[in-house]
Amino acid sequence: MSSKFRLQSGGEINRSEAISFKFNGKTFFGYKGDTLASALLANGIHLVGRSFKYHRPRGFLGSGSEEPNAIVQVYKDEAKKEPNVRATEIEIFEGLEAKSQNCWPSVNFDFGEINNLFSPIIPAGFYYKTFMWPAKFWKKYEYFIRKSAGLGISATQRDPDLYDHKYYHCEVLIVGSGPAGLAAALIAAKTEKKVLLVDEKPEIGGSLIGSNDNVIRINNDTPKDWIKKTYLELLKNKNVQILNRTSVASYHNYNYLIMVQNLTDHLNENDKKNKIRQRLWKVRAKKVILATGSIERTMIFDCNDRPGIMLSSAVRKYLNHYAVKCGNNAIIFANNDDAYETALSLHSKGVKIKAIIDIREESNGDLVKKCTDLGLKIMWKHSVVSTGGHKKIDKVFVMKLSADNNSVVGDKIKINCDLLCVSGGYTPAVHLFTQSGGKLSFDEKKFYFYPVKTTLNQISIGSCSGIFNLKKIIQDSNLKVNDFLKTEIKNEIIVSDYNSGNFKNIWLLPSDKVTGKTKSFVDFQNDSTANDIKLALREGFKSIEHVKRYTTTGMATDQGKISNMHALGIISEITKTKMGELGTTTFRPPYTPLTFGALVGRNVKQFFDITRETPMHSWHKKKGAKFEDVGQWKRAWYYPVNNENMHDAVQRESKAARNNAGILDASTLGKIDIQGRDANEFLNRIYTNAWSKLDIGKCRYGLMLNEDGMVYDDGVTTRLGENHYIMTTTTGGAATVMNKLEDYLQTEWPELKVFLTSVTDHFATVSVCGPNSKKILEKIVKNINFEDQKFPHMSFKDGIIDNIKCRVMRISFTGELSYEINIQANYGKAVWEKCMDAGKEFKITPYGTEAMHLLRAEKGFVIVGQETDGTITPVDLQMDWIVSKKKYDFIGKRSLYRSDTMKDGRKQMVGLLTTDPNEILEEGAQIVAEVKKKPPMNMLGHVTSSYYSPNLKKSIALALVKNGKNLKGKKLYVPMQNKIIEVIVSDSVFLDKEGNKLNA
């Protein structure tokens, strides 16, 4: 089971546990501890994907979350396949199946590669420019463009995995477990504070993972021994919790961080069973220590994207941590000393170092000296100008840099190789810092952005703060953390030290080819090149934000972790603007992609949203009612009988309510109990009509406005006692009305002694209407005299049903004789059933919200939110009668006298009758006075409610029409897609204008 590129010994993999997995259908072997990337590399596989636009062969560039190329499809089944997963982060397990993306029919023979030949004619903005005309062809283009865009394929079935959410509070959160993070954790552990240390990788250690044992010693131990000892040391402290495989997705204000912990992706299928896949942590930390490290940069030269061209630090990690050689004949291409650690590692493991190409003139660093002593060939002040090899690098071309570094001179030297390790220096990973609102500054000498200012209780330590030397990192972290935690803990960590030479930066390396003939990739994943950036600048894009969007640089799933700095650098060089002045694009959450499952957690299916059911819900359900969502409430919509359709059911229910008796579940109406010395005065101020003379035991309909004069809510309020009222609101408005009333009481009129209690859920409301309703109520509520004189319309009585107290209101929303029984919610269903039994002989019929809407429309009663939309005053509704002229003030009164609310030509509510009584208008349809052949036409308003009235045997509608008050009897038109409907403006009360039915 040995793999060609696996070293005979060493590494942190478990050689006793071999694992088989499939990649592109072929079976491979790796060891426990391998990532998909390291296992494939051990098998000599570099080609893992095709690039986004040109379909160029791509291989592994990095070894962690920064990887732009090696994103694969993890395939389980239709429900669990996952696109765009970084192969460098997938820990292999028995049965893993993955495949390449963005290639067809296979990664080795990809049809789309033809794009590469056409690449000179598909530069940045190609799609914008080409597919713009003729405009009507867009729909045809779109299909093909959408098909060719995007990388992986998402699942098509419900995700069967479990995801969890967890809230967590800690005193110190340390993000990153590299040398800085571990130093900080050792100090924090010695305090009494509750500490959480997180790292995105499966193991702690950060940049020390895979470092060269011969170069670095910590407390006289090898780095991995020191990491192990430190880990055990930390575990001894009960105040410390360590989470690995946990990536901080976002860092918000007030030290609120969202993290995703991967719990089972690395386990084999059997061990995954019944376990939570991922947990989303919502963390509030008193103090945050960012030790997020840094990301190695590539360098920008022609054909810098071939498989086998890798980041130097990644090659080192594959070698030392996974015991995998990424090649046998390596070339190092560097601008700093760190790459020499890779050279030394490779050399010691038998990889031939063909050359070290360094763009610097010299370096006096210790590692460089070691390489020289070993006889490794170093080519100073040289640059790689191009590379060769189709699916894997096989040669590089090297030339000498000119004195000013702006061009290359001399002979072009060809060197054969199978691995090119590139090291362009390091970029501090400041993503989380900037997400938290921190400000960056650019160091014009060291060529990186570093954190300077934060308003949060937070520090950045280690290489994310711009320190790269290990000894300095430890010293600086100890100092900063002690200062931050206000401690003086001695944290002795002795690091073997070596001198490093200076780092030299050239954003875009010169080439011997003319501009336009090179393919120097800046963003590997989105396939944007240095030439694309130049083109964008030539075409007039100046802002970095515009260049980014035009070229799509930094907009792939890696969010420019590798590419952003080079893009900025190239723009800065061409426009001759300082990087610091150019600024940087915004790093947005999440730092690495996260699953929808983690975001949603357990809030799926029945837990997606709260649903509210009335006490009678089960009865409605049993009777086959269809339900309608009103806010969170489930309301019975209609009750189909014998396979009736909705229209037939509503017609039958509406007729029954007018001819015999109807029963409606009105429990969802908002109910607010109002008590206190000044309750009466309070109602006077919030309703438009007068309330001072309402007698105890009487009910009154009220309209509530916003301060801007627009209708806000309506409902009936009953005076139960001297200082005691019960107010009803619309179903949807209950919470907002309550808030509004509280607002006025607490902030505008604190002198009023009034107490509000929401009692919506405390009472069930059964509304019985129709000519037979009185007879039904008489059978049930024996203690009330229902004679009209004793119990007139708009009054209330205390009732008793089977020894249970209830309130009976005689109020009507249908225009029929009507009673509402309000009883403690638990008895709602019993009372409902009692009404049904008692009403049997009177043909009682349950009706739903749709019939209720129809019945009230016959009477021209408005529904707030249907006839009104926040721009309608009571005057617009032609409800002037409810607006008190005598009251000095009420909410919204002054606004009714504004020039705008008083002007002519406002929309007013009217009735509409269609010339053809069987033609039903569509709600929302536009109304015009004059029909033109095609739009635009002068629109007068729209239909707000429309029904076929079974009681009037004709179509009726309510509408808001400009100047409608003065249009009664006029003919208007409702133009529809295939016909024009003629309507006559009418009164909005269609049935029983005199109100005789109320006392039927």
């Binding site: 918000h252 204000n253 007030y254 609120y256 607490q746 002054r894 606004s895 020039s899």
Partner: protein, 90 residues
């Protein structure tokens, strides 16, 4: 994503609260005596400051009490929380 210290309940996540706009806008005692312009000033005009702003918050998923907050809108830092009816700090 901030934390608000309700003067009645203590520190809570801001998702428990609802925002109520600029503070210290007093409803005129005699609206009928105001001109349209004066009424519009009360009704519509708000400062929308970048920087320190006095605003109203309601502990809507808690004690339902309203109170005032002095918040820097540029970084959401809360400088002061005080009860309704109390005057803003000078």
């Amino acid at each position: 994503m901030f934390i608000i210290k309700c003067p009645y309940c203590g520190e809570r996540d801001h998702t428990e609260f609802s925002y109520g706009g600029e503070a210290h806008i007093v409803r005129p005692k005699q609206p009928t005596e105001l001109s349209d312009d004066q009424w519009a000033e009360y009704l519509f005009m708000r400062k929308n400051i970048k920087g320190l702003q006095y605003e109203r918050w309601n502990h809507s998923h808690g004690c339902r009490q309203w109170f005032n907050v002095a918040r820097d809108t540029s970084n959401d830092k809360i400088h002061l929380i005080y009860k309704m009816g109390e005057n803003p700090p000078k």
